[in-house]
């Protein structure tokens, strides 16, 4: 053991070993290729033999036996009717490829936790979107939000959920990129550039697509938790795809206790989250869907609160104040203690005045999605069968969808100020005073608000 080990690791040694390894790898690949060719040739020969055998009369049994004893592998005839067993497809895994296989075309957008660019795959020439994950220091480990997003997207295969093609890496351990299909627009930026809002028939198509993606997620026990127009991508063929799964997580029935209430971008956040619940379910996504539905008609976000308290105020102004009767468990929510909810209140104001162009069925759907009581909101599956989608005007075929100039990065869009998805940290607790100030004028109608 004394003296310099012959395995001692100096640079030259390591280099030599690397080269040797590469050579062995190549040699092995070559051998495998040859073996595969030979196997294929044999297979072809066998198939020919089999064909010839089939030409002979079928009652000529010895042929079959002989073939069996020689080669049991190819299409072994089962003695009885073969069992129809479920064969599960099993993918494999392979190391992440390098980001250098892509050529940068242009920058698209900077989100809360990553930069997105449009790039070209140098080997196939296809155009894809590349999202560079924002990382802290290496000492903090790989962000679990990014891990969740990757895991969720890998799990989801749906026509209206963005396809995560692969994860590629750069030179340092901190460079990680998601390769996703490229879509020309997102709904928020697109609406900012549109002169007129979408037509009712177009809104139906968009809503059906988005809702079917949400249905798929909920069927797979996944909550998106950040549904909003800027996370809904649209291509020039009228197809939408849900993106940005950084907030997504699995849920269960009955719901898990102690989930984070700091989810969903403020303007799309359901009232139960604002009132501090930590036990919630798919109904929070349905509320966001209602906000998006309303936004598609007005071209402007429906409920633009300045902060949590203001958001609650805006919601109650639009949908009335909750009572024991309309939302039985509301008083037990942590932040509701600061409210003195009325025992009786006038029925919620109709959404009709705000949406004069919406049909009765449309108003019914929107009111049900924007129901204060989460238990009263429909499921995604129920939304899809709502009469609103079958009455005239019918949903517009995606082939007839208008196209828009692709802005994705080709010119810098002016960015309107809109709140970002909530960051980790303390959820705000409201004091009684907060609500008194924010809800003063609304409270006059029915309830008496906290002192």
């Amino acid at each position: 053991m004394a003296g310099k080990s012959r395995w001692a690791d100096d640079d030259a040694d390591a280099q030599a070993r690397k080269r040797e390894k590469e050579e062995k790898r190549r040699a092995k690949a070559e051998r495998e290729r040859r073996a595969a060719e030979e196997a294929a040739a044999q297979q072809r020969q066998r198939e020919q033999e089999a064909l010839q055998a089939d030409d002979r009369p079928t009652d000529h049994r010895p042929t079959k036996r002989r073939r069996l004893s020689e080669e049991p592998a190819p299409e072994e005839p089962a003695p009885e009717a073969p069992l129809a067993l479920l064969r599960l497809t099993a993918p494999s895994w392979s190391p992440s490829r390098r980001v250098s296989i892509f050529e940068q075309l242009n920058h698209i957008d900077e989100g809360t936790y990553g930069t997105v660019s449009r790039v070209k795959d140098l080997s196939t020439g296809s155009i894809v979107a590349l999202k560079k994950l924002k990382m802290g220091r290496i000492g903090d480990g790989f962000p679990d939000m990014a891990l969740r997003e990757i895991q969720t997207l890998q799990e989801c295969r749906h026509a209206h959920i963005v396809d995560l093609k692969e994860v590629v890496v750069g030179t340092t351990l901190l460079d990680v990129y998601l390769v996703m299909e490229f879509l020309e627009h997102d709904l928020r930026a697109l609406q900012e550039d549109m002169v007129e809002p979408f037509l009712p028939s177009e809104i139906k198509t968009l809503m059906l697509q988005i809702t079917s993606a949400v249905e798929y997620l909920h069927d797979h026990w996944i909550l998106h938790r950040d549904l909003k127009p800027s996370n809904i991508l649209l291509n020039n063929r009228g197809q939408t795809k849900l993106a940005d799964f950084g907030m997504a997580r699995h849920f269960s029935s009955p719901p898990l206790a102690n989930m984070s209430q700091l989810v969903v971008t403020l303007w799309y956040r359901a009232p139960e989250l604002l009132l501090g619940t930590s036990v919630y379910d798919s109904a929070i996504d349905m509320w966001s869907l209602g906000c998006i539905f309303g936004e598609l008609f007005g071209k402007e976000p429906l409920l633009q609160g300045k902060n949590e308290v203001d958001q609650v105020g805006k919601i109650f102004a639009l949908r009335g104040t909750p009572t024991e009767a309309t939302w039985p468990s509301v008083r037990r929510l942590p932040n509701a203690r600061a409210l003195r909810l009325p025992s009786t209140a006038p029925p919620p104001p109709s959404l009709r005045p705000a949406f004069p162009l919406l049909t009765t069925a449309g108003v019914d759907l929107l009111s049900s999605l924007l129901e204060l009581n989460p238990a009263g909101r429909p499921s995604a599956t129920q939304v899809l069968t709502h009469p609103y989608f079958t009455e005239d005007p019918r949903p517009k075929s995606t082939a007839m969808f208008p196209t828009f100039p692709s802005k994705a990065g080709l010119e810098r869009r002016r960015k309107k100020l809109s709140p970002n998805a909530p960051m980790r940290g303390e959820a705000p607790r409201f004091g009684a005073g907060d609500f008194g100030a924010a809800l003063g004028p609304i409270g006059e109608g029915g309830g008496v608000w906290g002192v």
Partner: protein, 297 residues
């Protein structure tokens, strides 16, 4: 692919991946590689138990650990220490679970387990291992270990192509026992325990059965063995076909699961009072020792 299938299936190693490994291309003898991966899987199991993690999470970590080493593009034992990859797999798995672990806890658990002079210890060794200085980590050593943990985590993710999906067979196993009317029954608990024991042991199998077979097949094989040992009568006929398992597959798995005991006994005898090399230095020393032995012969 049928809906929800992803919760029931695992990505499997391809035949090419199983034919070689990064370690073998780097000159590690296959038997040494087998010993190290077995010891690394055991280390992951023990560390997970020390951290009081549920078995389901530990199993996921062991499966990720095992996947890391297969194939020519897999990790090499001369490049990455088995103990580091084990710690990273456990950290990563816990992070994705409802029981995330602090890096400090992981580092401490591995420092403690590293302080044992031999790899194969009787259970009593833990009670008598009271020399606290042997596993004390100074502040500096602790932050160095934490940094190594993060680097190993990034490497595990890269080698696995960020595919961290693992399906375990435990729930299926209970489900199948219910379908077979073993549950509820007088011997249900004993049979389920025995089947779980087989499933846990299979995580350490040198045939890497979790990389070659889907959870439903593993569950059926474990039930088959547990029922036979427990003297519980299962339906006549090919009941495993109901769970989409072929006779050949079941036969292979039954033999594999039963051969594990002999393999472990062999390992214990081979390594006796020594340590299975789980760090880069120990691996090089072991290779040198073998080189020396060869020269003497």
């Amino acid at each position: 692919m049928s809906p929800h299938a992803s919760h029931l299936t695992n990505p499997l190693a391809t035949p090419t991946q199983l034919s070689t490994s990064g370690s073998q291309l780097d000159g590690i003898p296959p038997d040494l590689e087998r010993s190290i991966i077995f010891a690394g899987a055991r280390l992951t199991q023990t560390a997970g138990q020390l951290l009081r993690l549920p078995q389901d999470i530990i199993a996921r970590a062991i499966i990720l650990f095992t996947r890391f080493w297969v194939g020519s593009e897999g990790g090499s034992l001369r490049e990455y220490a088995a103990a580091d990859i084990s710690a990273a797999a456990l950290y990563l798995t816990s992070k994705l679970s409802p029981h995330p672990q602090q890096p400090r806890s992981i580092v401490n658990a591995y420092a403690y387990l590293d302080s044992f002079p031999t790899t194969f210890n009787p259970p009593s060794a833990f009670a008598s291992h009271t020399n606290q200085e042997s596993y004390f980590l100074s502040e500096a050593a602790c932050s160095a270990s934490k940094l190594r943990l993060m680097q190993s985590e990034a490497i595990v993710l890269r080698v696995l192509g960020f595919n961290t999906h693992v399906a375990t067979p435990y729930t299926l196993c209970i489900n199948y026992l219910q379908a077979l009317d073993v549950f509820p029954g007088p011997r249900a608990t004993a049979i389920a325990r025995r089947a779980f024991a087989y499933l846990n042991a299979a995580l350490l199998s040198p045939q890497l059965v979790y990389l070659t077979h889907q959870p439903h097949a593993l569950a059926v094989a474990a039930i088959y063995l547990a029922a036979r040992e427990g003297g519980v009568k299962l339906p006549d006929g090919e009941w495993w076909a109901v769970f989409d398992v072929e006779r050949e597959e079941l036969g292979f798995l039954v033999v594999a699961l039963r051969s594990l005991e002999g393999f472990v006994r062999g390992e214990r005898e081979a390594w006796g009072g020594r340590r299975v090399p789980l760090s880069l230095g120990e691996v090089e020393a072991e290779l040198e020792r073998r080189g020396v032995l060869e020269r003497v012969e």
